[in-house]
């Protein structure tokens, strides 16, 4: 298990106060905080090694290139990829998915083909496919989810077995329901049907041990900033053969072999997909984030979150008029806890929680179809999402502040389950 007190000491922002209270940061699904090791890696790069990569002979450029490429190898090892060449750096998960939609889907899909998604996708794993479908005459179909927040696997077998599916684009861990989808099984079904598989790992890679050889999917997309790294860095892992056969995503410097006035040839994978100066410093700092997670051990990260999620689910369930979405068992889900409370609007809840220093997310979390499927009065929910520096005190603070919220709006009785009168 994790030593949370020691971990917290590495995160300067956790020392600040919000509205005169201790910051209780429970918006990790949106972005995580950064340890001092990552912040220092960023300033160290700019202080000592800053130069452009892949083009200079001078010492700094050589150092910068080595630091940048070392992180590519580090990312490859982190997800057990076969080689660093399978790792493409992008801006974020969204860009990683768009890269495949542009470089693979637009080239390979034909009218009548189907792109299969699920009803719990983030807009970033839905809208790029709608654009690709519109450009190719393909169609987007969604596998629904059941009342318990798990995917309808009977429907998945049916849809993937129709013979029309060419690609399955599926979220590994739902950013709203917390559901961990059976990606290995889905991949088998898709591959049996001759379809490729893209996994949206934005919420899973930061929280679960990830092995792309076990997943057996064809593409995996995730973001550095949701796993202690800086914003502005995303990763696309893809099978080498697929990446080699894909069209470039953007044209420009660094992605070419030879350039004539009327045509060019492309650099090898992965440089072919990294046009222009990349986000060098943030990639380098991302390396420090991976080191930090490896030092903790991803198995320990997962065990910590399962235990804390179990506690959070119990505590929230004890609060009257609370409804928690997603699977009931912590083993089936990540530390993403989305709930409704006392008929209050999520924006009102989040507003009052903020006054107590508790940061949660309110809204549709970029999943409008999912919220429509939940059939709520308002198309919005409140979400608390956990990470390595959260502990039971944070959950207690959330539950206490929620009880105060109910009393503030006068919608719950004196008993809130928190035991702290306002």
């Amino acid at each position: 298990m994790l030593d949370v007190a020691r971990i917290r000491a590495d995160f300067p922002i956790l020392n600040r106060q919000v509205h005169g209270r201790r910051l209780v940061y429970l918006d990790n699904g949106a972005t995580t905080q950064k340890p001092v090791q990552v912040i220092e890696a960023l300033t160290r790069f700019y202080s000592l090694h800053n130069a452009n990569v892949h083009r200079g002979v001078h010492t700094l450029s050589d150092e910068a290139t080595e630091l940048y490429e070392d992180v590519r190898a580090k990312v490859a090892a982190f997800i057990n990829a076969h080689s660093a060449a399978e790792i493409v750096f992008t801006r974020n998960t969204t860009e990683s998915i768009n890269l495949v939609a542009s470089g693979w889907a637009r080239r390979n899909l034909r009218p009548g083909d189907e792109i299969v998604v699920t009803a719990m996708e983030h807009h970033s794993n839905l809208v790029p496919w709608q654009l690709a479908a519109a450009a190719t005459g393909a169609r987007v179909r969604a596998i629904p989810f059941l009342a318990d927040g798990t995917l309808d696997m009977d429907n998945a077998r049916q849809v993937l077995g129709s013979g029309k599916a060419r690609l399955l684009a599926v979220v590994h861990m739902s950013n709203v329901l917390g559901t961990i989808n059976p990606v290995e099984e889905l991949t088998r079904l898709a591959h049996d049907a001759g379809a490729l598989v893209l996994v949206d790992g934005a919420q899973s890679v930061p929280h679960l041990p990830t092995d792309v050889r076990e997943l057996d999917a064809d593409f995996l997309a995730f973001s550095a900033h949701k796993m202690l790294g800086p914003t502005g860095v995303g990763v696309l892992w893809g099978r080498r053969g697929l990446l080699d056969a894909m069209d470039p995503y953007q044209g420009g410097g660094s992605m070419i072999a030879t350039v004539e006035i009327e045509h060019s040839t492309w650099a090898e994978t992965p440089q072919k997909f990294e046009a222009g100066t990349p986000n060098i410093a943030d990639v380098v700092a991302f390396g420090a984030a991976i080191d930090y997670l490896l030092d903790l051990g991803m198995g320990n990260v997962r065990a910590h979150e399962v235990a804390l999620t179990r506690y959070a689910l119990e505590q929230l369930a004890a609060l009257p008029e609370t409804h928690i979405f997603g699977p009931a068992q912590p083993e089936q889900r990540g530390g993403i806890i989305t709930f409704g409370y006392a008929g209050l609007h999520p924006h009102d809840i989040a507003q009052v929680l903020d006054q107590y220093g508790v940061a949660v997310r309110a809204g549709h979390h970029c999943t409008q179809p999912l919220h429509r499927a939940l059939n709520l009065d308002v198309g919005a929910t409140t979400r608390a999402s956990l990470y390595i520096y959260n502990d039971r005190d944070d959950i207690d603070a959330l539950v206490d502040a929620l009880g105060r919220t109910g009393r503030f709006f006068g919608v719950t009785g004196a008993h809130s389950g928190s035991g702290v009168p306002r």
Binding site: Q17, H19, G20, H345, P346, H347, D348, Q351, V352, Q355, A362, G363, H364, H371, D377, V378, G379, A380, F408, F409, G410
Partner: protein, 159 residues
């Protein structure tokens, strides 16, 4: 941000003044009117708030107001307060109140006297994420007036 005043419950009372909570718990003019002269609908796609507004007119005067909606305390109380405020006013003075309300919410203007109880929403102005909630019913009103001769339309806070 470091020089911000440590906030307390006082800030909560700024945004959720008693009069706002009262209109949230007991909305006035709730329910759409039969055979309205003008009506419109609006949504805030960010949070899913919805307001439908219907007005009855006698000439230029608003004789009756009704709204239906779902959403946060700010958007719903703003709709309730607005439908009270514009009742028995001319369309032109409703438009003027809309401008006054908007300048209070977005330009930091002091509330004009004729806004009356609507001044209670002034505290929302410093919570930037919530200004749109307060403005939603007024955007719907503007659209209703604009579309007076046409069919009902839907507006969003993002346009």
């Amino acid at each position: 941000m470091s020089d911000r005043q440590p906030a307390s419950d006082g800030d909560l009372d700024d945004i959720y003044r008693e009069i706002i909570l009262d209109h949230y718990r007991r909305p006035r003019n709730r329910g759409l009117l039969d055979h309205p002269d003008i009506s419109a609908e609006g949504v805030n796609p960010v949070c899913g708030d919805q307001i439908r507004l219907s007005l009855k007119l006698a000439g230029e005067q608003i004789t009756a107001t009704g709204f239906k909606g779902s959403g946060c305390a700010i958007s719903q109380s703003s709709a309730s307060l607005m439908t009270e405020a514009i009742k028995l006013h001319d369309l032109s003075s409703a438009e003027r109140m809309r401008h006054e309300f908007e300048s209070m919410m977005t330009d930091g203007a002091e509330p004009a006297e004729e806004l009356g109880d609507l001044a209670a929403l002034q505290g929302v102005a410093k919570f930037h994420a919530r200004v749109k909630c307060a403005l939603l019913p007024w955007k719907v009103l503007a659209e209703a007036i604009k579309e007076r001769d046409g069919s009902p339309v839907t507006v969003t806070t993002e346009s």
